[in-house]
Structure formats: C-alpha cells, structure tokens
C-alpha cells in the first residue's frame, strides 16, 4: 500500500497496523511531531510518568531506545504534549535515539466512518455561505440537526447494533445497558454457539405499579407522604416460578402433574396434537421488558443460559460512537440541509420539498447500501429452496 500522499489517509502502515510510530532524533530536537490521526492525550500533568497512578489512562505509551533495537523501555523524563507534538518540560532537546509512540488502542477499520464533527465542518463549508441556499447558520443549529439525524439514522438505517454476551442470573433479570434505546434481538446460545431467538411474550407483563390495597374496598393505601404504598410484584414472581412446559406443551413422560399435557392424556394422544401455537411452542423461552426496574426479565427455563442481547443505541452515547459510516454521509448532509431549510421563514415551499425528496432518496440509498445485499449470498441462500436461480 502506498504511503500517505495527500489523499484522505494520513497514517502510515506502521501507524495503522502496529499502532506505533518511531521518530529518530539526532540529539538536537526540541520537539517530536507525531502524525497519528488520533490526538495523543495525557490524562493529567503528571501521568507522563510510568509510576503515576493515572499513567494507564493516557491513550499512548512513549518509549525510547538508544539504538532502535528492542527493548523500548518507557521514557522517564517529564514531557508534555500538544497537537501530537511531544516536548520536554525542562525545555531541553531530546537525546539522540529512537522515540516510539504506541497507541493503547488501535483504530482498525476507522476508514469506514467519518466523525460527526467532520460532517458538521464539511456541511458548513459546502452548504452555507453567500450565494447558497443557506446564507448563514449557527453552528449549534447544525450540531443539533446533525445529532438528531444521527439518532434517527441509528434507529433504522445505520448498522449501529450493539451486542452483549450475558448469562441469565438466578433472578432471571438483566439490567438494560446504559445506552439502551431498543432491543433488536435476544437469542439463547446453545453449546455449539448457535443462536436461538428468544421472543417477547404476550402471556405476561410487568406492571409498573403495585399499590397495596385495602382489603374491603380495594382502594390503594397511602404512606405518610401521601404516596401510594407499593407491594411486591406477585405476577412477576409467579411468572418466574412458572413451569414453562405447561405453556409450551413439551412432551415429558415424567411430567406427572401436567394440566394441559398430562401424561395419561398425552400418552394417548401422541401424534394427534393439533393447533400448536408457534409463539409458545418452543423451548427457547421468553422475555419481557420490565420498564419499572429498567431490566429485561426472562422465563424460568433460561436461568443460567448464555444469551446474546442485541440492541440499538442512538449513536451519541459515547464519543467513540459518534462516527457516521461513509455510506450514510451524503444522507446526513441532506438531512441537515432539509431540517434547516424546513425550519426557516421565507424559504419557498418548493425548495423545502426538493430537499425533503433529496433527503428521502439519499436515506433510501443509504439503507440499501448498508443492507449489504450481495447477489452471491442471496443465491446461496435461495439454492436451499429448490429453486433455480440464474446468475
């Protein structure tokens, strides 16, 4: 691969693949300029020291070797950094030798995206100014619409699905992640690592309030602060204790106390069970969203199971989230332009409509692109369907 030569790639192969850059100093250099895309940051004024308790929070390690050969021990003289330029605090020159910066985290695959800040800057450059449809705009307005666009795109367009591997604990509930917006899919994973989808159930739900009632009238009872006293959730407890075989109809010769699937009845009716409901007749279990506690509750048969929890966030939860796939870049520009023009006075309606259609078309394109529909993959799947596909 070519070295950076003025294109969009600024890092060398060593910077990208090894996450490091070595600068050779002759002995007179007062500063060492590194060219990582990622800004090098010291966590604090003292965290340069390998002995400092916050040293591990720096996003890089600064090392020195007098001859360029391993080992590269950490540099132990007080230094500071600004704009990826390292200088000694005492103002002296660096000794002759080889100075290596190693990133603690690599940025593999970062070329697929563009940061939200770049989107905002690019938008202001290309869409705002004299002689353009948007003569002037506050950066905060662009920021707002860009972030809102990012949120909307995250919900149904971007591949922003996050996955957590979890075990269902004894209380059958897992806490919703901090950046949870909606679930995509929850699956039980068997011993082979194959996913089995767990469906939400309509058979039960998690009440949001459980007021303690007066026995005679049924009226809720209040505490000294005039709020309703809350009881314990009996429904959830029952659901947690429920034997799922009574719901799924699973045949079990040892199931002596079955009500809908009694052994005697079942034994006489093997092969004659009609009207099974796919929603309930599976052994994968169910889940409900418990909004009261901010948890997901699972059916009792899943205790101890390994699950994959796939959910979407809004793309803004953490700084690292705020990366827009390049395939959605144009759609986000269109979204910002439309949102700004639609909210302005004296913009002719035909302009607004033009930008609305523009946004819609670009968003559709983005969805198609990000769907990753490949002809060969479809063909391979459809071969299983005993159909002749010409390609």
């Amino acid at each position: 691969m070519a070295a950076p030569n003025g294109g969009l790639i600024n890092e060398t192969n060593q910077q990208y693949y090894a996450g490091s850059q070595i600068i050779m100093a002759a002995g007179a250099e007062l500063s060492l300029v590194y060219t990582f895309d990622e800004p090098l940051k010291l966590y604090s004024g003292t965290s340069w020291s390998p002995l400092d308790s916050d040293h591990y929070q720096n996003n890089f390690i600064f090392e020195y070797s007098p001859n360029g050969l391993a080992p590269y021990p950490e540099y132990t003289i007080d230094f500071k950094i600004a704009n990826n330029t390292i200088t000694r605090v005492d103002g002296l020159a660096f000794d002759a030798g080889f100075y290596r910066v190693r990133l603690r985290e690599t940025n593999y695959g970062s070329y697929i995206g563009i940061s939200l800040n770049e989107i905002i800057n690019n938008f202001i450059v290309a869409y705002v100014g004299d002689g353009k449809l948007i003569p002037s705009v506050k950066r905060t307005d662009v920021l707002f619409h860009a972030k809102r666009g990012m949120q909307e795109f995250s919900y149904d367009t971007l591949r922003s699905v996050k996955q957590q591997e979890l075990s269902v604990p004894n209380n059958l509930s897992i806490i919703l992640p901090q950046d949870y917006v909606n679930y995509v899919k929850i699956s039980r994973v068997d011993a082979l690592g194959v996913k089995h989808i767990i469906y939400p159930t309509r058979l039960t739900s998690n009440p949001t309030e459980m007021p303690i009632q007066e026995i005679d009238t049924g009226a809720p009872i209040q505490d000294q602060y005039a709020n309703n006293l809350q009881g314990t959730p009996i429904i959830e407890e029952n659901w947690a204790n429920a034997d799922d075989k009574r719901i799924t109809g699973t045949y079990d010769p040892n199931f002596q106390n079955a009500q809908i699937n009694a052994n005697t009845w079942n034994g006489n009716t093997v092969g004659q069970r009609y009207g099974l409901n796919p929603e309930t007749s599976n052994m994968n279990g169910w889940f409900t969203i418990n909004n009261r506690e901010g948890k997901i509750s699972f059916s009792s048969n899943l205790v101890g199971s390994l699950i994959i929890f796939e959910y979407i966030s809004d793309g803004l939860a953490y700084d690292a989230d705020t990366v827009v796939p390049k395939m959605a870049e144009e759609a986000l520009y269109a979204h910002i332009a439309y949102s700004i023009l639609a909210g302005r006075v004296n913009v002719p309606e035909y302009i607004v409509q033009r930008y609305k259609r523009d946004r819609s078309a670009k968003l559709r394109n983005t969805k198609i692109r990000l769907s990753n529909i490949k002809l060969e993959e479809i063909t391979q799947v459809m071969r299983n369907k005993s159909k002749w596909i010409k390609h």
Binding site: D130, G131, R139, T140, L143, F144
Partner: protein, 306 residues
C-alpha cells in the same frame, strides 16, 4: 499603499480655489479628514451587507464584494491570543504595537503627574504599561489612572527619584471577528439568552469540540469553562487618524516625516477628496461647493450600488 494626506489636501485646496472661497487650515483639514475616513470606513459594512444580497459577477476587478473585502482587508488583524483572566473570562487581544509613551522623573512626596504628551482620551480608552526604572508595575497596587485619563497617581507618593515610563497601547479594537480555540475550532458567538437554552440541551451543550462564547463588556466568556487557554481572536481595527503635519516657514510647510497618510485604498482617493470638499464647503460657508460635492457623492453612490 495608502492615499497621500498631502495630495488630498492640495487637491482640496485647489478645488476650493482658496483665493475666492476661503482657506481650510491644516487643523480643520485634519479633523475633517479623520471624520471622512471613519465615515467611509463605516460605510463599508453596510455596502458589503447590501452587495451580499445581490448576485455577484465573476469579473477580475469589478466584483463589488471582492472589492469591498479588499478595502477592509487592511484593517483585519491576524488572530492574536486572548488573555485568560481568573475571573472566568478572556480579555480581548492587546494591541501589540505601542502608540506613544511619556516619561516623568519622580519628585519625592509627589503622587500625581499630569500627562503632557499622551492625550487624556487616549489614555482613558487605551491600555497602559507603567515602568519605574524599567520595572513593570501593577495598576491598582502601584499606581492608578485618573478617571478622565489626565493623571497618573503613584501609590504611595514617590519616596525617591526614579524614572516613570508610561507606554500607551492604543485600543484599536473596532469589531470582533472570529474567535478560535486551539488554532482550529471556531468558537461560536451567542447571546446570553440563547446560551441558556443551548446549555440546557444535551445535544447542543458546548464542549471542547463545539465551544461557544458570549461577548459582554468587551470580554469573552468562553464555554465550556474548561477552556482557559489557546483562545485567539481576530478583529477589525480602527483606521489610524490621518495627520497633515507641518512646519511654519512663511506659511504651512508639509512635514512628511510626522504626517500620517490615509489608510484607505488608493481607489478611494477621489471619494475622499469629494467628501472632504463637502465638509470644507460647510466650514467656509460656500453653498455652491457643498452642492457640487453632495451631487458628486450622490452620483458615486448611485453608480456603485445600481
């Protein structure tokens, strides 16, 4: 390249035909010249605003927006560091070039010293540095300046003989331009009421990637509060007042060394002359001259804006 203050003066006198209409003294001329230069400078902003609202042409020398930008370019400063004040704001960049200075020799027991060289109004509006025998002193602790700018008061009164050197940095700030953080991020200007709402929204709350500032009492309040350095600002400075300096030798003799030319572009020479003539006509009470100049100015405006 500037417009020669002498050329303009001579042309004005020529057109006035001083023998028949009266004479415009250098002092009158200097005052009118300053007024006219500032007037024309101020009009650039409105003209530019007007021209930005009409379609531009792509010609090399007749693009009005470009021409106006060129006229203003001379007064645009490059970004200079704004100084953080522990009070939580940044002061505007201090002009780097001193405009004048005055030296006193202290008298034992004397506290107040009246400025003779420095103009009181300039002292009041400018920034001072005061040195006692070359040592920089602090305003408030070592000295104060009288409210009108006419005196410096030593704290305490002089207890010995030393040299007081007062250096004046003329406050040439006129309009604030772009405020920049870390040499790459533009800090957005907001009004206080907008800031309150923007600060309350999680989506728009200022951060180091999207900082904002409020400009009040000539101070920059930058948010987020974590920004306490690396703030620069450029601004538009005021034009330096033109001065037609002279020596007296059987009349007024032009002194090119102490004179200050107009700072406007050479293309403005004819406009300068016409406008000075207008005021000169008022000074010498010549309606014909006023009418002639006013008509000429009107024609120019119509031509420039139609």
């Amino acid at each position: 390249m500037a417009v020669s203050v002498d050329t303009v003066y001579r042309t004005v006198l020529l057109i006035m035909n001083k023998e028949s209409r009266g004479y415009l003294t250098p002092d009158e001329y200097n005052k009118i010249a300053e007024q006219v230069q500032f007037e024309m400078f101020n009009e650039y902003f409105e003209d530019l605003n007007q021209q930005l609202r009409v379609p531009e042409n792509d010609s090399e020398y007749s693009n009005r927006v470009k021409n106006l930008e060129e006229k203003l370019a001379l007064f645009k400063t490059t970004p200079k560091a704004a100084i953080y004040n522990p009070g939580g704001y940044f002061n505007l960049p201090t002009p780097p070039v001193q405009s004048a200075q005055e030296t006193f020799t202290s008298v034992v027991g004397q506290a107040a010293y009246a400025f003779q060289v420095l103009q009181a109004s300039e002292v009041a509006s400018g920034t001072l540095q005061v040195f006692y025998d070359g040592v920089l002193k602090t305003e408030g602790a070592d000295y104060t300046i009288s409210p009108g700018g006419g005196f410096i008061n030593l704290i305490p009164p002089a207890m010995g003989v030393f040299t007081i050197n007062v250096v004046l940095y003329q406050n040439d700030f006129y309009k604030l331009g772009t405020v920049i953080y870390d040499n790459k991020i533009e800090i957005e200007r907001l009004n206080r009421n907008n800031f309150l709402y923007i600060n309350m929204s999680d989506l728009t709350k200022p951060n180091e990637n999207n900082p904002i500032f409020i400009f009040e009492e000539n101070k920059l309040y930058v948010y987020p509060d974590s920004i306490i350095n690396n703030v620069t600002a450029n601004y538009l400075r005021k034009p330096i007042s033109p001065v037609w300096s002279f020596t007296v030798n059987q009349g007024y003799v032009y002194d090119p060394i102490n004179s200050v030319d107009f700072e406007l572009q050479p293309t403005e020479q004819t406009s300068l002359i016409t406008r000075i003539l207008l005021y000169a006509g008022v000074v010498v009470r010549d309606p014909q001259l006023v009418q002639l100049a006013a008509g000429q100015i009107q024609n120019e405006k119509v031509n420039e804006k139609s």
